[in-house]
């Protein structure tokens, strides 16, 4: 079986990047919770896939909704991987990464931007987030907006809980949500409440 060498393929990708043809660059990255998918456009980080999500499906979705020019290009995402690694080590509390919000719009986008302002180690209720987004009665819609957050971890939807402190839901599964909040020291204050 004849195959193109890695060098040839990498040279092609380097030239594609130089020509501005890498509309969506992605990498499969490791994390303490399992494999992540990280995807970015020229504007910034556009998608984070959590360990229990189907990465192939996410890539097909990106091809349909952002651009079909989707290529695996690990070097392009070095900065994202570095910040996430530091975050998982407990050494980074604020991400400093450009974000591309183009997968969200309307009320969802406002909710997700509100979530993006919840500080490290703190939590908010779905009701509070709905209010911040401009409609405190739209609690259910705020929950949906959390669930459809395209950039989890970096946009910290794991910091949104039910009123009263119940965990609610999480795209990466509740054990991951709990572990993230414990790591951030956000759950200790809830003990006994």
């Amino acid at each position: 079986m004849k195959t193109a060498t890695d060098t040839t393929i990498n040279n092609f990708k380097a030239r594609a990047a130089k020509e501005g043809l890498l509309d969506v660059a992605y990498v499969h990255a490791d994390s303490p919770f399992g494999p992540l998918l990280l995807a970015q456009t020229k504007k910034g980080l556009v998608r984070v896939g959590l360990p229990n999500q189907d990465q192939d499906e996410l890539l097909v979705d990106l091809a349909a909704r952002v651009s079909p020019r989707v290529l695996e290009a690990p070097a392009e995402l070095d900065a994202v991987r570095r910040e996430l690694d530091l975050y998982f080590e407990g050494k980074l509390e604020r991400f400093d990464l450009p974000l591309d919000w183009s997968l969200s719009d309307g009320f969802r986008l406002r909710v997700q931007r509100a979530i993006n302002r919840i500080p490290y180690g703190q939590t908010r209720s779905y009701t509070e987030v709905a209010a911040k987004a401009g409609n405190e009665r739209a609690v259910r819609a705020a929950g949906t907006a959390c669930g459809s957050n395209p950039i989890p971890l970096v946009v910290p939807c794991h910091r949104v809980l039910r009123t009263g402190g119940a965990l609610g839901g999480y795209g990466g599964g509740l054990p991951m949500k709990r572990a993230l909040l414990e790591m951030e020291g956000a759950l200790e204050s809830q003990v006994g409440s």
Partner: protein, 155 residues
């Protein structure tokens, strides 16, 4: 309309066929460069592609054009058999079919392309015809002539 898959999928699935065809068409040395040109051209045009059903045929058509460009740039000279063989030899990487591909590389362009498309990437006559921009009958003829010549050459 079939939605376009992520370009990475296209690359994963068809890079083997494209490099095989190009090695047959322009030889080992030129193939890497033509490969990059082929996929760059494909990536540029990809979002405007309105039919995702025959991506391999589409890529091989581009590869064929890049091979022609390559030969034009090199003054249309066919690849000398000895040169192609020498490329692989110094590394000690001697694939059993090197001699065969070198002989394929020395065929006239149409025959070379037809043979490479048929045996390098296992394409049916109809797709070879599409890639070469000729009728299936003409593709069959080129393939037949090419094979006849190879048999004579390799004994």
């Amino acid at each position: 309309m079939t939605p376009l898959p992520p370009f990475q999928t296209v690359l994963d699935e068809h890079s083997g066929a494209v490099i095989a065809v190009l090695r047959g068409a322009v030889g080992r040395e030129g193939a890497d460069d033509c490969f990059q040109e082929t996929f760059l051209a494909a990536l540029r045009a990809y979002p405007r592609l309105d039919d995702a059903r025959n991506l391999r045929g589409w890529l091989l058509t581009i590869a064929h054009r890049k091979a022609i460009d390559h030969h034009r740039a090199n003054g249309r000279r066919p690849i000398p058999v000895a040169e192609s063989v020498e490329v692989a030899a110094p590394d000690g990487i001697s694939e059993p079919d090197d001699e065969l591909w070198a002989a394929v590389g020395a065929l006239p362009p149409k025959q070379r392309a037809a043979v490479a498309l048929r045996y390098g990437s296992d394409l049916p006559h109809s797709e070879i015809a599409a890639a070469l921009g000729c009728s299936p009958e003409a593709a069959r003829r080129s393939l037949h002539e090419g094979l006849k010549r190879l048999r004579k050459e390799l004994g």
